[in-house]
Structure formats: C-alpha cells, structure tokens
Amino acid sequence: MELLDQILGGFATAATPVNLLYCFLGVLLGTVIGLLPGLGSVTGVALLLPLTLTLEPVTALIMLAGIYYGTQYGATISSVLIATPGDSATVVTTLEGYQLARKGRAGPALAIAAIASFLAGTISIILLMTLAPLFSRFALSFGPPEIVGLMVLGLAGVIGFTGSSQFKGLAMAAFGLAVATIGIDPQTGVSRFTFGSVELLGGIGFLEVVIGLFAISEVMAQVRRGAPEPIRTRFRDMLLSREDWRRSRMSIVRGGFLGFLLGVLPGAGATLASFFSYDVERRFSGHGDEFGTGAIEGVAGPEAANNAAVNGAFVPTLTLGIPGSGTTAVLLGAFLLFGIQPGPLLLEEQPDLVWGLIASFYIGNLILLLLNLPLAPVFASILRLRYGLLYPMILLLCFVGAYAIENRLWGVWLAFAFGVIGYFMKRYDYPAAPVILGLILGGLLEEALVQTSSISGGDFTIFLQSPIALVLFTLAALIILGPYIAKVVGLVNRRRAAGE
C-alpha cells in the first residue's frame, strides 16, 4: 500500500491552502490567456512562468500545471465561439464545436467539453499514477546511450507529426539544437559563438524564445488576419440535456483511454489524440452522419482525448525527462529552471514533489470544472473585445514577461528578435515546436553524448551494444521514414495492380 500512501501524501501536499490558491490562480489566468485568439498552452505557460519564479518550487509547478489546464480549456472556448483554436490540440473542436455554436448550442458544447475534460482527466490521472512508477523503475536501468536514444526518439516524435514538410520540421529541430550550443559549454567551460558578448555567455534562454516564437508571432499573424466575430453564449444555455449526456458518455470514455495511450508516446500527443478520437467517434458513435453539422460526440471525444493525452504526456516527461510536446517541453524547461531534473530518479528522490504535482493535476481538473461550468460565458465576453484593443495589451504582457525572466533588457531583445523570426516561420509554414524541443533537449542530449563517448572511450559502436538504444533509434527512424516507406509501398502495390 506504499503507492496509496504516496498518493495520499501527494494530495496532502497539493491541498495546502497556499498551493490550492496558486492552482486556482493558475487555472483562472490560464483560461484567460488560452482564450485570447492565437494564444495556446505553450504561450500561456511561457507568459505566466515569470509569475511563478518567486514561489517555492512545488507551489510554482502546481501553479504551472493549473495554467496548463486553464489554457487548454481557454483554447476550447475560442475554438467553439470564434473557430480560432489557440492550440493545435483544439483544432478538431472547431469542427463540431463551432457548428454547434452556430446552431445556438454553444453552451452545451462548452459544458460537455468541460465535463469531458474532467472525466477523462480522472481516468488518465489514475493511469498516470499507476504507470509513472513502472516507467520510472524500467528507466532506472538506462545509461547515457539509452538516454541519447530516448532524446532522439523524442525529437523524431515531434517532427514526425508537425506541419506540411518534414524537412522543415527537421531543419527547425537542428536549428534549435544548434542555438542551444550558444554560450558556455557546461561540459568543458569553452564559450561557443559568443563573439565576446557577455549576454551570450549565458546562452539563449528558452523562455524568451518561446515568447517570441509562439506569443509575439501569433499575435502578429492575428493582426494581419484580423479577428473574427464571436458567437454569444449565456449561462442558462450551459445546461446539458439528458440526450446530450447519453450520447456523449461513451465518447468520453473512449477518448479518455485513447488519449492517454497516444499521449504517452512521444510526439504531438494531444493533437494526434484529438484527431484520432474525432475519427473514432465519426465511425463508432452511431451519429456519423451528423458530423460536420454539429455532433456533440465530436466535441466530447476529442476534448476528452486531448486532456487525457496531456496527462499521458507527463509520464515520459516526469519519468524519462523526455517531453512529448511543445508545452511539456516548456514545462520541462521550467523544471530545470527550478533546479529539478526530471528522470527516473525524480520519483525516488523527490516523491513529495512528484506526487504533489500529480495530485494537483487532479485538483486543477476539478477547479477547472467548477470554475468553467458557471463562468465560461463570462470568460467568453473577453472575446467580444475588439482585437485592436486586445493585442497591444498582449504585446505588453509578452515583453514584461521577457524582461522579468532574468531582469534584463537582453531578454526583451531576444523575444523581439525571435518574434520577427517566428512571424516569418509561421507565414512560410516552418513549425516552431521543434525549435523549442531542440533548444531544451540540446543541452541534455549533448551531456548524454559526452558521457556516452567517455564511457566508451570515443567508440560509437557502444550504441549497437545496447538493445534498448537500438530499439529507440529504430522507432525514431520509423517515425521519420514511415510516411516515405508507406508511399513507396503504395506505389509498388499500384504498379503491381496495374501490371496484372
């Protein structure tokens, strides 16, 4: 019953008044940020991270988890009401959610999204609590070569599922990894690419880059596009009918399990999970013909799936130190900022922190439900503000945040520069998430590589001697080459069929 004790201990940590307060604040602020057009969970976490810097690590991480959940629901609100997803994981929600809103059923769409997220959160947190220790135990046997394999798999996963061109994703990951080498090399103390600048010695901070690449560039893209008119919703419309619930409940269960499983895999888990769940619901819900015109299962399933996937993604993030998505990458960066190194040892060395965090996920989910069922229409009123009045404020927030990270003007310039770069990347379809992942994993990857090479005395065949590393490399190669292999196989089959 050691596990149960630890879980209860976790709830005791998470439920102190201070931690509850910050979790609540995180959910509240996260929801507001998440519903601003174009701003999603990556941005939300990055923008609000400076607020947590003065807190105790556990409290800070609990607040960040709250922010994470809040931004996700906020993004759902903007998906349903203005068909503008703040997050790639809520893109699918715009399909049915916006159609429901146009039919005057925005309330039930928002309500089922909140309920689905909560129920799927419950399922997936139980799975997370059981799986995390198992994963940890398995990963304890990992040495530097296996860790290199894991990182490569993590990078491949994110690239494999992003954007129109894989080469753009790969190039962006390489860009992130290269930028990560700027500054003093922690292994040898050699300063790289600093050109005599004191500022560059400390390296390029990932938060400034995130604020630039995600927040500023998103806002600018939105400025160019112009923001759409929101659909109104009222509190009494938030009530679900018996029929809505009857139709949604199995979708929620399916979405919850599917989402968790996909979330554990490295890659854009939540996005993939939501698309998968949408497809599953269209085929199996029995209302496939209504899809595209506002089917509530098409909101319930994907919303359950993306929430569960988020929890699933925490399994590799916490136990292996490998983030499964852009947002978990930012959260991993936050962990490192607070001096916590996620990995197999974390659960053993700091059980209070890990279990407190996991328990706070659950509490965050509950706060989200209690806050958003009654307040979604109030939050939604922010969307009625003209974007011309909103974006100057958002930009101010971005730049204060960039300054506050290290209390220096350098951060502001970095955010500005990456804002310009990010604007053009967005315009020409270069994905930003691989840059962030490369930037955060770069240092860890280099450390693992250096350790590997000193264990083996510079002999790279050490990777071939580790079956686990081999499996990980093979998986990474399959993720990247899979689409091409499928294409070639398809071509061969067609030729053969044509020849017969």
């Binding site: 400076p50 607020l51 003065t54 129109s164 061109s165 080469f167 753009k168 790969l170 190039a171 390489a174 860009f175 990894l177 290269a178 990560a180 080498t181 090399d185 292994q187 040898t188 050699v190 790289r192 690419f193 600018m220 400025v223 160019r224 596009r225 112009g226 003209r386 011309g388 009045l389 974006y391 100057p392 404020m393 930009l395 101010l396 927030l397 730049f399 204060v400 300054y403 506050a404 209390n407 003007l409 502001v412 310039w413 500005f416 804002g419 310009v420 604007y423 020409y428 270069y430 490369g438 770069g442 990857l445 280099e446 590589l449 250096v450 090479s453 000193s454 005395g457 510079g458 790279f460």
Partner: protein, 158 residues
C-alpha cells in the same frame, strides 16, 4: 516559379546558417582525444544537419508541382502587411527607448500609439488603456512580484 521563391529563400537561409554553425564549430575541436566528443561536435553536427535539411526544403520546393500549393487565404486577410510592419517598427522603437523612458512609460506609450494611431480607436481610449496597462503592469510585476522594471532617466517603475 514565383510561388516557390519563399521556400527557396528559406532553404538558402537555412543552408547558410547551418554552414555558419558548422564552420564556427571547427574552431572548437570536434573530436578530442581518442575520438571523444569535444565542444565543437554538437554545433558541427547540428549545423551540417540544418544545411542538409535546408537543402531538402529547397529540393522539395523545386520538385513540387504548382497545384499542390495550398491557398494561404491571402484574400481573406483584413489586416494588412502595412499594419504588421508598423507594429513591429513601433515595438522596436519602444524597446530601444526603454533605457531612456523606462519600461512602463515606453510600453504605455506603445499601447497608446498602437490603439490611437495604428488601430484608429480614438485618442481618449488610447490614453486610458495605455496608462491603465502601464499601471497594471507595475502593480503586478513591480509591487506584487517585486521585480524592478527599468526606470529610465525619469526613474519610473522600480
């Protein structure tokens, strides 16, 4: 050919940047004693990879038949390129002015300028929101979080 230009330029930039990283890395020793990884290894390998993948982006663009390109909704854009340039320009000036005016004044003026001049939302609304945003930022960051924002020559903010 015209619609391929952005990808070809992007490919060129990636190749140049990748080559720069790889070339710079040769100054830091790539493999050390007994073939061990030295400080130049990561920047060299990632630089080469960036250049190679960049080249592939270019190749992909050249091989692509024009009809495969998706419509990026250019016509639906209500904001203009002019606005984007203006906002980026205003941001640049605002950051440049921080050491002189201080963070809050500089960014308060930015908010005012964007709302009043760029968005044409009215002078009073611009002034009110500019001042309000600056005060709010000071309340949250200066007062609550005790993060001293640069005050400039006037010393406003800390």
């Amino acid at each position: 050919m015209r619609e391929k230009a952005p990808d070809l330029i992007g490919a060129g930039l990636l190749m140049a940047l990748g080559a720069a990283f790889a070339a710079g890395a040769t100054g830091y020793e790539i493999l050390g004693e007994g073939g061990r990884i030295a400080p130049g290894f990561m920047p060299f390998v990632t630089g080469v990879l960036m250049a190679v993948f960049g080249a592939m982006v270019g190749v992909e663009a050249l091989l692509r038949t024009p009809r495969e390109r998706e419509d990026d909704g250019e016509a639906a854009e209500t904001g203009t390129r002019r606005t984007v340039v203006l906002v980026f320009g205003a941001l640049f000036v605002a950051v440049l002015l921080i050491p002189v005016l201080g963070f809050l004044l500089s960014f308060g003026l930015l908010v005012f300028g964007l709302i009043w001049y760029v968005e044409r939302e009215g002078l009073l609304l611009g002034l009110g929101l500019g001042a309000g945003a600056a005060v709010l930022a000071w309340l949250v960051f200066g007062l609550l979080l005790q993060i001293p924002l640069p005050g400039g020559v006037l010393g406003l903010g800390g």
